[in-house]
Symmetry: C2
Subunit: 251 residues, 2 copies
């Protein structure tokens, strides 16, 4: 009987967040945390996020780099029909392909808008040549995917509607687990305790997060990994180092 | 009498957002929009944001690139005393300098913590050698600056407390102004109108933002720049193209 080996390294992902409105502070970015949590559930680690303006060349440059460095790339924003929606063009340029009209999307747009359908609406039928159109039984309006790059919309409600299509397609392997310990100690006093745990558990991610003016705790410690036994052992090793009266809470 | 020349190009900025907790979705990023808005008021354009984990080499690589490509770099996060706070080390590495204890910060920490002061607390006195300590009459706990790179904390409440020190030091030239028009038209129908305005006002940033299920409007159009007369002219040119019954509102 073979024993199970160590958990293999996780698949990796990156995100490219596109939009002048985010870089000017008119709109607060709201999709990265949602994406990150969905990916963790699949065992995929989000490793890099880049935010750029609505500029074809900047988008193309980033898509080329991020799609080659990580297993997956998710873009957010720039997929509508107006002059500032240039993500499809940027992705096509990154992969050295053309922008073409998808007959399938054009038909869906014509069916949807009927006699009101304009050239402006049909601009939403443009895709990088060779792209896949991903759907699910629940989400029938297609999401554009080119190789490992998923083109998601920036509008948060639609981003959340479409993300499950990517989640279903990518599939889970070993999900991340996370434990949290809340204490009233400050980070300066916690440092030697944390150093001991970090040294003993190099395979567990240990985080320390001070909270500003919360009456119930001062610092939250987190223990993260994909091997639940190791994560729990690191958390228990930390708990054993705490003085009397601690912790305040364990999640 | 000389006439005023065209508005010079704006100063540029970038942000490096540091923290595993953001990339895992445990915490939602909350500082970029605040930074962006403060910079716009100074006439500084935020052009790029990068989010990376708590990793010295990744931070050093990004600091080197962003501080050289833009007039200013703001880092957010990783300035506490625990093992996962490695921003000072990353910045020092980027600029090819050492990490040293600041006697001024060490004294402030000893005065603050008194007999409770530990080596852990004193870790917050470490700075890149040659860094400046920036204060203001309102914010007397120093913010570390190395050349054009400001090291701001990740905790949103403290980020907001410290940002005014950087704002005062950087100073304003010509601030950005922004106008907004709200319509019930959809982006497909708006496209030709926007294309006309964009062609006529290449110096004004024109944005189009669909709203999901709002009874009062469907699309928000924005007109941005540093020459208020041109921004207003672009907005007025757009208003003149709208059909009867529009706009719903102008801000």
């Amino acid at each position: 009987m073979s024993t199970p080996g160590p958990t293999p390294p996780p698949r990796t992902a990156s995100a490219l967040v596109i939009g002048n409105e985010l870089l000017s502070g008119k709109v607060e970015e709201a999709n990265v945390a949602v994406l990150a949590r969905a990916l963790r559930g699949l065992g995929v680690q989000l490793e890099r996020v880049v935010m750029v303006p609505d500029d074809v060349d900047l988008i193309a440059h980033e898509v080329k780099e991020l799609s080659s460095r990580f297993d997956f790339l998710f873009t957010s924003g720039g997929v509508g029909p107006t002059h500032d929606d240039v993500t499809v063009e940027g992705v096509a340029k990154a992969f050295g392909t053309n922008v073409v009209e998808s007959p399938e999307l054009a038909k869906m747009l014509r069916d949807h808008y009927g006699e009101r359908c304009t050239d402006g609406h049909l601009r939403m039928a443009l895709v990088p040549e060779g792209a896949a159109l991903e759907v699910s039984p629940e989400v029938r309006w297609p999401t554009i995917r080119y190789a490992n790059t998923w083109l998601l919309p920036g509008v948060p409600e639609i981003f959340r509607m479409k993300l499950p299509v990517a989640v279903a397609r990518i599939g889970a392997d070993v999900a991340f687990v996370s434990r949290a310990v809340f204490t009233k100690m400050d980070e300066g006093d916690l440092r030697p305790l944390l150093d001991a745990v970090v040294a003993g558990f190099p395979d567990v991610g240990v985080g320390s997060y001070p909270k500003w003016q919360d009456p119930t705790y001062r610092t939250k410690l987190t223990f993260d990994g994909r091997d639940v036994a190791r994560v729990d052992a690191a958390k228990d090793a930390f708990l054993a180092l705490l003085p009397a009266g601690e912790p305040q809470r364990v999640d």
